[in-house]
Subunit: 450 residues, 2 copies
């Protein structure tokens, strides 16, 4: 009955029933997600899949956000999911490490564009789809992850299917079948981390979930107990049997309310150190040649996951807390540009990197760090971060999310468009025609700004 109950909850959803808090967080999720999707849109992995869409003659139904090309709804879902995850800079539900927007928003938006849905439709479908995905994630976590599944891809398709079912106003049986078709089609092994196939996972989940809902809308049948059956999704892909997580207290609060956003374009364990050095620099504006050393004290995982000292590529820089701190010292941020090959190999940043050292303290929490800067003249500056920015205790403010949006979208769209998009998203529930939204995501030239 679990899948049946879930489907009945999904179909009983309505925009009016959803509280303001969830709507507010869905808008923040969209701003963050759209920024990183546009920011990732010039990545070579996106161009490669776009070339495939051209080989199969995809029809121009929906936008590749941040680009001038249009492709069919399914490929738009795939491409926008890919671009939004390629920089590992999207949002996270920390309890299961599910990135909710990357598989759900691309499906919702490409469908909304072609089918001319409203802003309220988009917000409702995203919240309901995320709710379904997050709850299935809770039902399979953690063994699912340890078995080797990348939960954002494997569970994301169910979220996309639930979202499109919501948007299409499918009935309970159709929604049940949409979830079943998506459940039989999970994408994503953790082995793919570090390759283009990692961001392919949420993209493919968005595509699979949308296809599932489109098929169910035509009357295609599936199991009626795809999640809870003996040979169903939960048992085949995890050792858990936490089925009650899927439906318990549905509608009382929404999982999207717990969403968190990355202020920095690297793994969360580096964030307290980056937060600390930025705090010091904002206050004292030190020059690198004044610095004798910088000492970071943090949780053991900082060294285990990000202890790389010798690095030559931007991707490696994400796994070097030494680089993260050195780059943030200069730039007062750690965005996409701080993890380019150029930045990692800059001689000034390399020089400062050599002055950074790491002390592990097992009593520290993961979101905690102390940063100490010692100058040649003997002065010392210390900043202690109790809860890094972006953690659940210290969420990013609206202003910080807007600044991130402006930063990550770079020169792909101009400042005027950025401002207008920020405003549009803040008032998305009042927008009946999303044509302007999609037009604003489109650059004038595709190839001249990468």
């Amino acid at each position: 009955m679990v899948t049946q109950t879930l489907s009945s909850y999904i179909t009983a959803s309505s925009y009016e029933k959803i509280g303001e808090k969830a709507i507010y967080e869905a808008k923040r999720s969209l701003l963050n997600w759209l920024g990183v999707a546009i920011g990732g849109s010039q990545h070579e992995s996106v161009k490669k899949v776009l070339a495939v869409s051209q080989v199969i003659g995809s029809s121009p139904q929906a936008s590749v956000l941040g680009r001038t090309e249009k492709v069919d709804m399914l490929f738009a879902a795939l491409l926008n999911g890919l671009s939004s995850h390629v920089d590992d800079f999207d949002d996270t539900l920390l309890e299961t490490v599910l990135h909710p927007s990357a598989p759900v928003y691309p499906a919702v938006l490409s469908f909304a564009e072609y089918q001319k849905k409203s802003g309220k439709d988009v917000l409702e479908a995203f919240i309901v789809g995320t709710e379904a995905a997050a709850r299935v994630a809770l039902s399979v976590y953690p063994s699912h992850y340890w078995k080797g599944w990348h939960i954002t891809g494997s569970v994301g398709g169910i979220g996309a299917a639930a979202a499109i079912s919501t948007m299409m106003r499918l009935n309970v049986e159709e929604t049940l079948f949409a979830i079943g078709i998506a459940a039989t089609d999970p994408t994503g092994l953790r082995e793919m981390f570090g390759t283009m196939t990692k961001p392919y996972h949420p993209g493919k989940a968005a595509m699979n979930g949308m296809l599932a809902a489109l098929m169910a809308a035509q009357g295609f049948t599936s199991s009626t107990k795809s999640l809870e059956a003996e040979r169903g999704f939960v048992k085949a892909l995890s050792n858990e049997e936490s089925f009650e997580m899927i439906t318990k207290k549905w509608g009382e609060t929404y999982e999207i309310e717990k969403n968190s956003y990355k202020p920095f374009a690297s793994g969360v364990v580096t964030h307290p150190a980056i937060d600390g050095i930025i705090s010091i620099q904002k206050k004292y504006q030190l020059l690198p040649q004044q610095v004798e050393w910088i000492e970071i004290t943090g949780h053991p995982l900082v060294e285990e996951l990000t202890g790389k000292k010798i690095i030559t590529t931007g991707l490696e820089g994400k796994f070097s807390v030494y680089h993260c701190v050195a780059a943030a010292f200069f730039q007062l941020k750690a965005g996409i540009h701080e993890f380019t090959d150029d930045c990692v190999n800059d001689s000034c940043i390399k020089g400062l990197r050599e002055k950074v050292r790491l002390v592990i303290n097992e009593t520290y929490r993961e979101d905690q760090a102390q940063v100490k800067v010692k100058l040649y003249d003997g002065r010392e500056y210390i900043h202690t971060v109790d809860h890094a920015i972006g953690s659940q205790q210290n969420p990013m403010t609206d202003q910080q999310l807007q600044d991130k949006f402006i930063d990550v979208t770079g020169s792909i769209i101009n400042t005027e468009k950025k401002r207008r998009l920020i405003d549009l998203i803040a008032h998305l529930d009042e927008v009946d025609d999303l044509a302007e939204f999609f037009a604003l995501c489109c650059p004038v030239f595709t190839e001249n700004h990468s």
Copy 2:
């Protein structure tokens, strides 16, 4: 190194290196597969997915076999994979219960049609793709199956990716990435058996595998050890570590040489009984009103899997050995038409069904049965089947495969086309231009013959 070695073997393949036995069996596989694909092409599940392809504006690149519509290569792979498995009448590698043609041939043929490949290209790509899929299947079987995976879908995508990589002459690294992208994207839970989603599995595998190869051809990257890694395909989807099955003695013989074909459109455990009653009827042409009872002696699984006595639908008929025997008594076959609702509910067949009884003998093998017919006048006819037709010891002859092709394609294409297709497939290695092949699979009208 397993995936790397597999990829190097795939790229080193050539038509000339493949022995005659494998080529011969690939042609028999194609004849059988094409028949059931055309036979299934009017099924409502096919029409529903076709409707989705129209919603997304799919471009006319490749044929939906048995229909007049053309769709893009990816959707053609999906649709032809679906139609060829919807009647559960396709081929089987009995060792792992992998149905090799259903995920591999649709990918190969839709690519071949649009890219104007030759008959030799098709045969080589199918044999290599099947080899890859069958060996990965051996490496995960049996725990993969018991965990809940439908192996034809979950492993089939790797076969389709290997086949398209072969056809595109991808290099070792590209092939490695194609396999990685397909491996991260398995489709198919056994929970879906009995719904339209079951035949969706090989169709989606064909689509996923083709997409993977098209992406890899563009330079999209993936893991280089997707099969054997700690968080890779084999460990995430099974409890086996039989990696050596994937590459051992590659090229010495081909798995396709072990392919088997169903003479009857029901589960294999019913086949010895059907074979037996047909043998008696071919010899004695008994009338139903002469029969007092028919007694089937067989393996315990016959009762466990097909012991349904009261049935009202064609699908249930497949799980009733009583119906199988009664229908075969009248028709001298048990094809698609014998498992329609009409046939199951025919009063004559129902009457005879009540005269059929079952005796279980634990010493019998699964491909063995004894059929005894007792007439009212006291005469008894006994036929013992040691190895049912279609089993590995008693394979279907070319003539029987041709008769099956003619039967399952029904009135969708006319007799002249059937004869010409049988001839074309027998000489496929001599065909440079497959345009005629695809034209022959196309009926004059789409909707008037279902």
